[in-house]
Symmetry: none
Subunit: 231 residues, 4 copies
DNA sequence: GATGAATGAGGGTTCATTCAT
DNA sequence: TATGAATGAACCCTCATTCAT
């Protein structure tokens, strides 16, 4: 075989996996201007990548465009990310990380179920739907099948936790008699299903028939919490 | 915007759009063996395309693989479809058409709401979830953003009709007092949200945590129809 | 990792190894014009590759130039060879194979040692030095270190055989008293050393001081066979 | 023609040729610590370059690796050498210079031919074969065709001299009757051919069949000096 | 019609070289 | 002087599309 010239990558490039991001070592002195510029570029690349990947999908997105949009040269991308795939994965990771922490607590306050549910929905809307994280979730949905590691990461770090927390909340609600139905305890996914649908609808069909997410989620709340306004 | 391949000559080519498929003219005599062979090949190509597009996504799928899987030469694809994009669009169209008709009636029978809902859900599971149509819906979700025409087609031919029908059913249900809540009338999407979620979950997270669609949909039914088993 | 779009090579490309060359299947009918054209192109590519690799070295040679020189499109190269490296390896193989057979016999005739030696040297000059095989041997010398497989192939198929045959010839010569020295039997390499040197000299220093290979080899013969013209 | 990298701006840059090396001006005061550090770095770079060029060849070697191995920054290389090519050429020059001087005398002592030959061979083994100069000679062999200037330098400074000296020694030997054959006088290359072969063999085939250079050279000596142990 | 060899534009990746710090 | 982040030209390889057979 003898791969004489090319490749020999793996030992020299920033990690392509899903471990801790590289964050090119801050050269010297605390917060050197150099390191700051570098971090800014990295962020610019990530932001540009999100836009391009969202607009074209992973396979069709061109790193050339990412670079142009980020205002850097194509080669610069490779100073921060091992390859296109690593850029994609770290992008998702980067955007999702903040969420993970927040999720943990959200459910652990000892307040009535309906309050928690409302709070969660509000959080989804303000922290995801109204931000570019919406695009991140969309990317997981559209590209996840081709990136099992990402799907797993998302499941482990987000879904599993949300699901678990929800299940407990619902169980508590059932025990307290706050909700009359154990469906949500058995399938916490039912709680978020409309949120996912909204995400998709928004991306594909909003121009034909706009969907008011807040209203949708409120209606969903009413429905499952059985506070429906009697017809 | 569909930046899938190179040329983007789609407008110069025959039936790249969503008009009626070409159905290569039956050579001579009605139902000639020639025409039959041709139709078979076309179907084989469509079937192969569905598999490949589902597995790799539109951009990353290779027509070479489609051809091999269909058992035809690469060039043959171009005898039936103008280009990769047309193949994709006609594929979706081809798979969706049968559904459209069915949908119309489904709602128009004058039976209690809960019966209709159960029937719909059963239809979704048996006609979509348990068939390769599941993949078609997934493709619309994952590629729709890049194929506005497809998204529109799907909205117009499927979503809009389903939505409209559902809305009427729900309204009737509310009027008759069969359901106490108008949420579903205002947002028929709430009815199908779990189905969509199941589709996505199944593709991405089933290996981490399997989701029993039937049970999920039944729980969903119970929940929104308020027949929940009291805790 | 998820290598979604790219690569997926190994199962679709012609063998990159050193096994039997692919020789794209002759389509149909004996010696179809199609297959012939294909074989011609393959040969043209190999010839062009030899020139380019010889002129620039493996790493610096550009497949673009190979294609242009061969009168084919860049992509055509990949119809015949898995990648640049496979092209290189098959090139060496292709050029060397004919030699291998010839070598076997050369030594096995039962004639006096000096006849065999002269014959061998003549063969080297006419079959290697005066042909483009000279470039092949040079490539092995210059690139062999980066292509262990090639070096091994050359050693196994050519060197080991030549060495073995020479050793026997020399041993026989010593036994018969045709040569008075066992140096050549112990180090058959001494026999070919000047040939190698000539190859190198010819490539690097001929313009400063031309070297008459035939004369050199003749002198070498005289020297080691001790037929030196007394001073 | 050296088509190694991109720009090929070699003519616009300082000392890309084979003239005297730059030896970055000793900043101030004779033998300042500054100058010493600089010279050390230069040497480290040269040493690293030899390793990298030997391992990968000129075209495939990466200055990045040279820098890392030398323990300096990539930019530092350019403080000492105009470009990659200049580094390569000066490297060869640097390593070869010491030899040149030695060679001159070696032959000029008035001792019997066989003594001189043995001495030369010993010198080759100890001064070249057992040192990293072996790699330098190998580089000339493998890259010389792409660096005519280097080949010329090597020819002029080393080969031509050795050849000339050898020729005289041999002529003398013939006159004195110390050797019975004028082959070596006409083709001094015959003397060194096995040394060259050993160099190449060692790099490519030693792992398949080790070659004992000393024994080889001794046998060679015996053979051409006709002191062969009678079989 | 059917084939699949051939094409060549395009994009990911590398790396010599530059230059602000 | 030394650094190493940044640049961008170049090159390998892919694959949608064409077309002679």
């Amino acid at each position: 075989m003898a791969k004489p010239a090319t490749k020999r990558i793996s030992d020299r490039r920033p990690n392509a996996g899903l471990g801790n991001a590289p964050q090119p070592a801050a050269a010297s002195g605390r917060g050197g201007a150099r390191a700051k510029r570098s971090a800014e570029r990295r962020d610019a690349i990530l932001a540009a990548a999100l836009e391009e990947f969202s607009a074209s999908g992973f396979a069709a997105a061109r790193l050339d465009d990412v670079a142009r949009r980020a205002g850097v040269a194509k080669g610069t991308i490779y100073l921060h990310f091992a390859d296109k795939e690593a850029l994609f994965q770290e992008l998702i990771r980067h955007e999702l990380s903040p969420i993970v922490g927040i999720l943990e607590q959200a459910a652990h306050t000892d307040v009535p179920v309906d309050v928690i549910v409302h709070r969660l929905i509000e959080m989804f809307v303000s922290q995801v739907y109204d931000t570019h994280r919406k695009d991140v979730i969309r990317l997981i949905i559209t590209e996840g099948a081709r990136f099992p590691k990402l799907a797993e990461f998302y499941y482990r770090e987000v879904l599993a936790r949300v699901t678990k927390a929800m299940r407990e909340v619902m169980r508590r609600g059932v025990e307290r008699g706050e909700i009359k139905h154990d469906a949500l305890a058995r399938f916490p996914q039912l709680l978020v299903a409309p949120a996912i649908l909204a995400l998709i609808w928004n991306g594909l069909f909003d121009k034909f028939e706009p969907l008011d997410v807040r209203a949708l989620m409120r209606a969903h709340c009413d429905l499952i919490l059985q506070n429906g306004r009697a017809a």
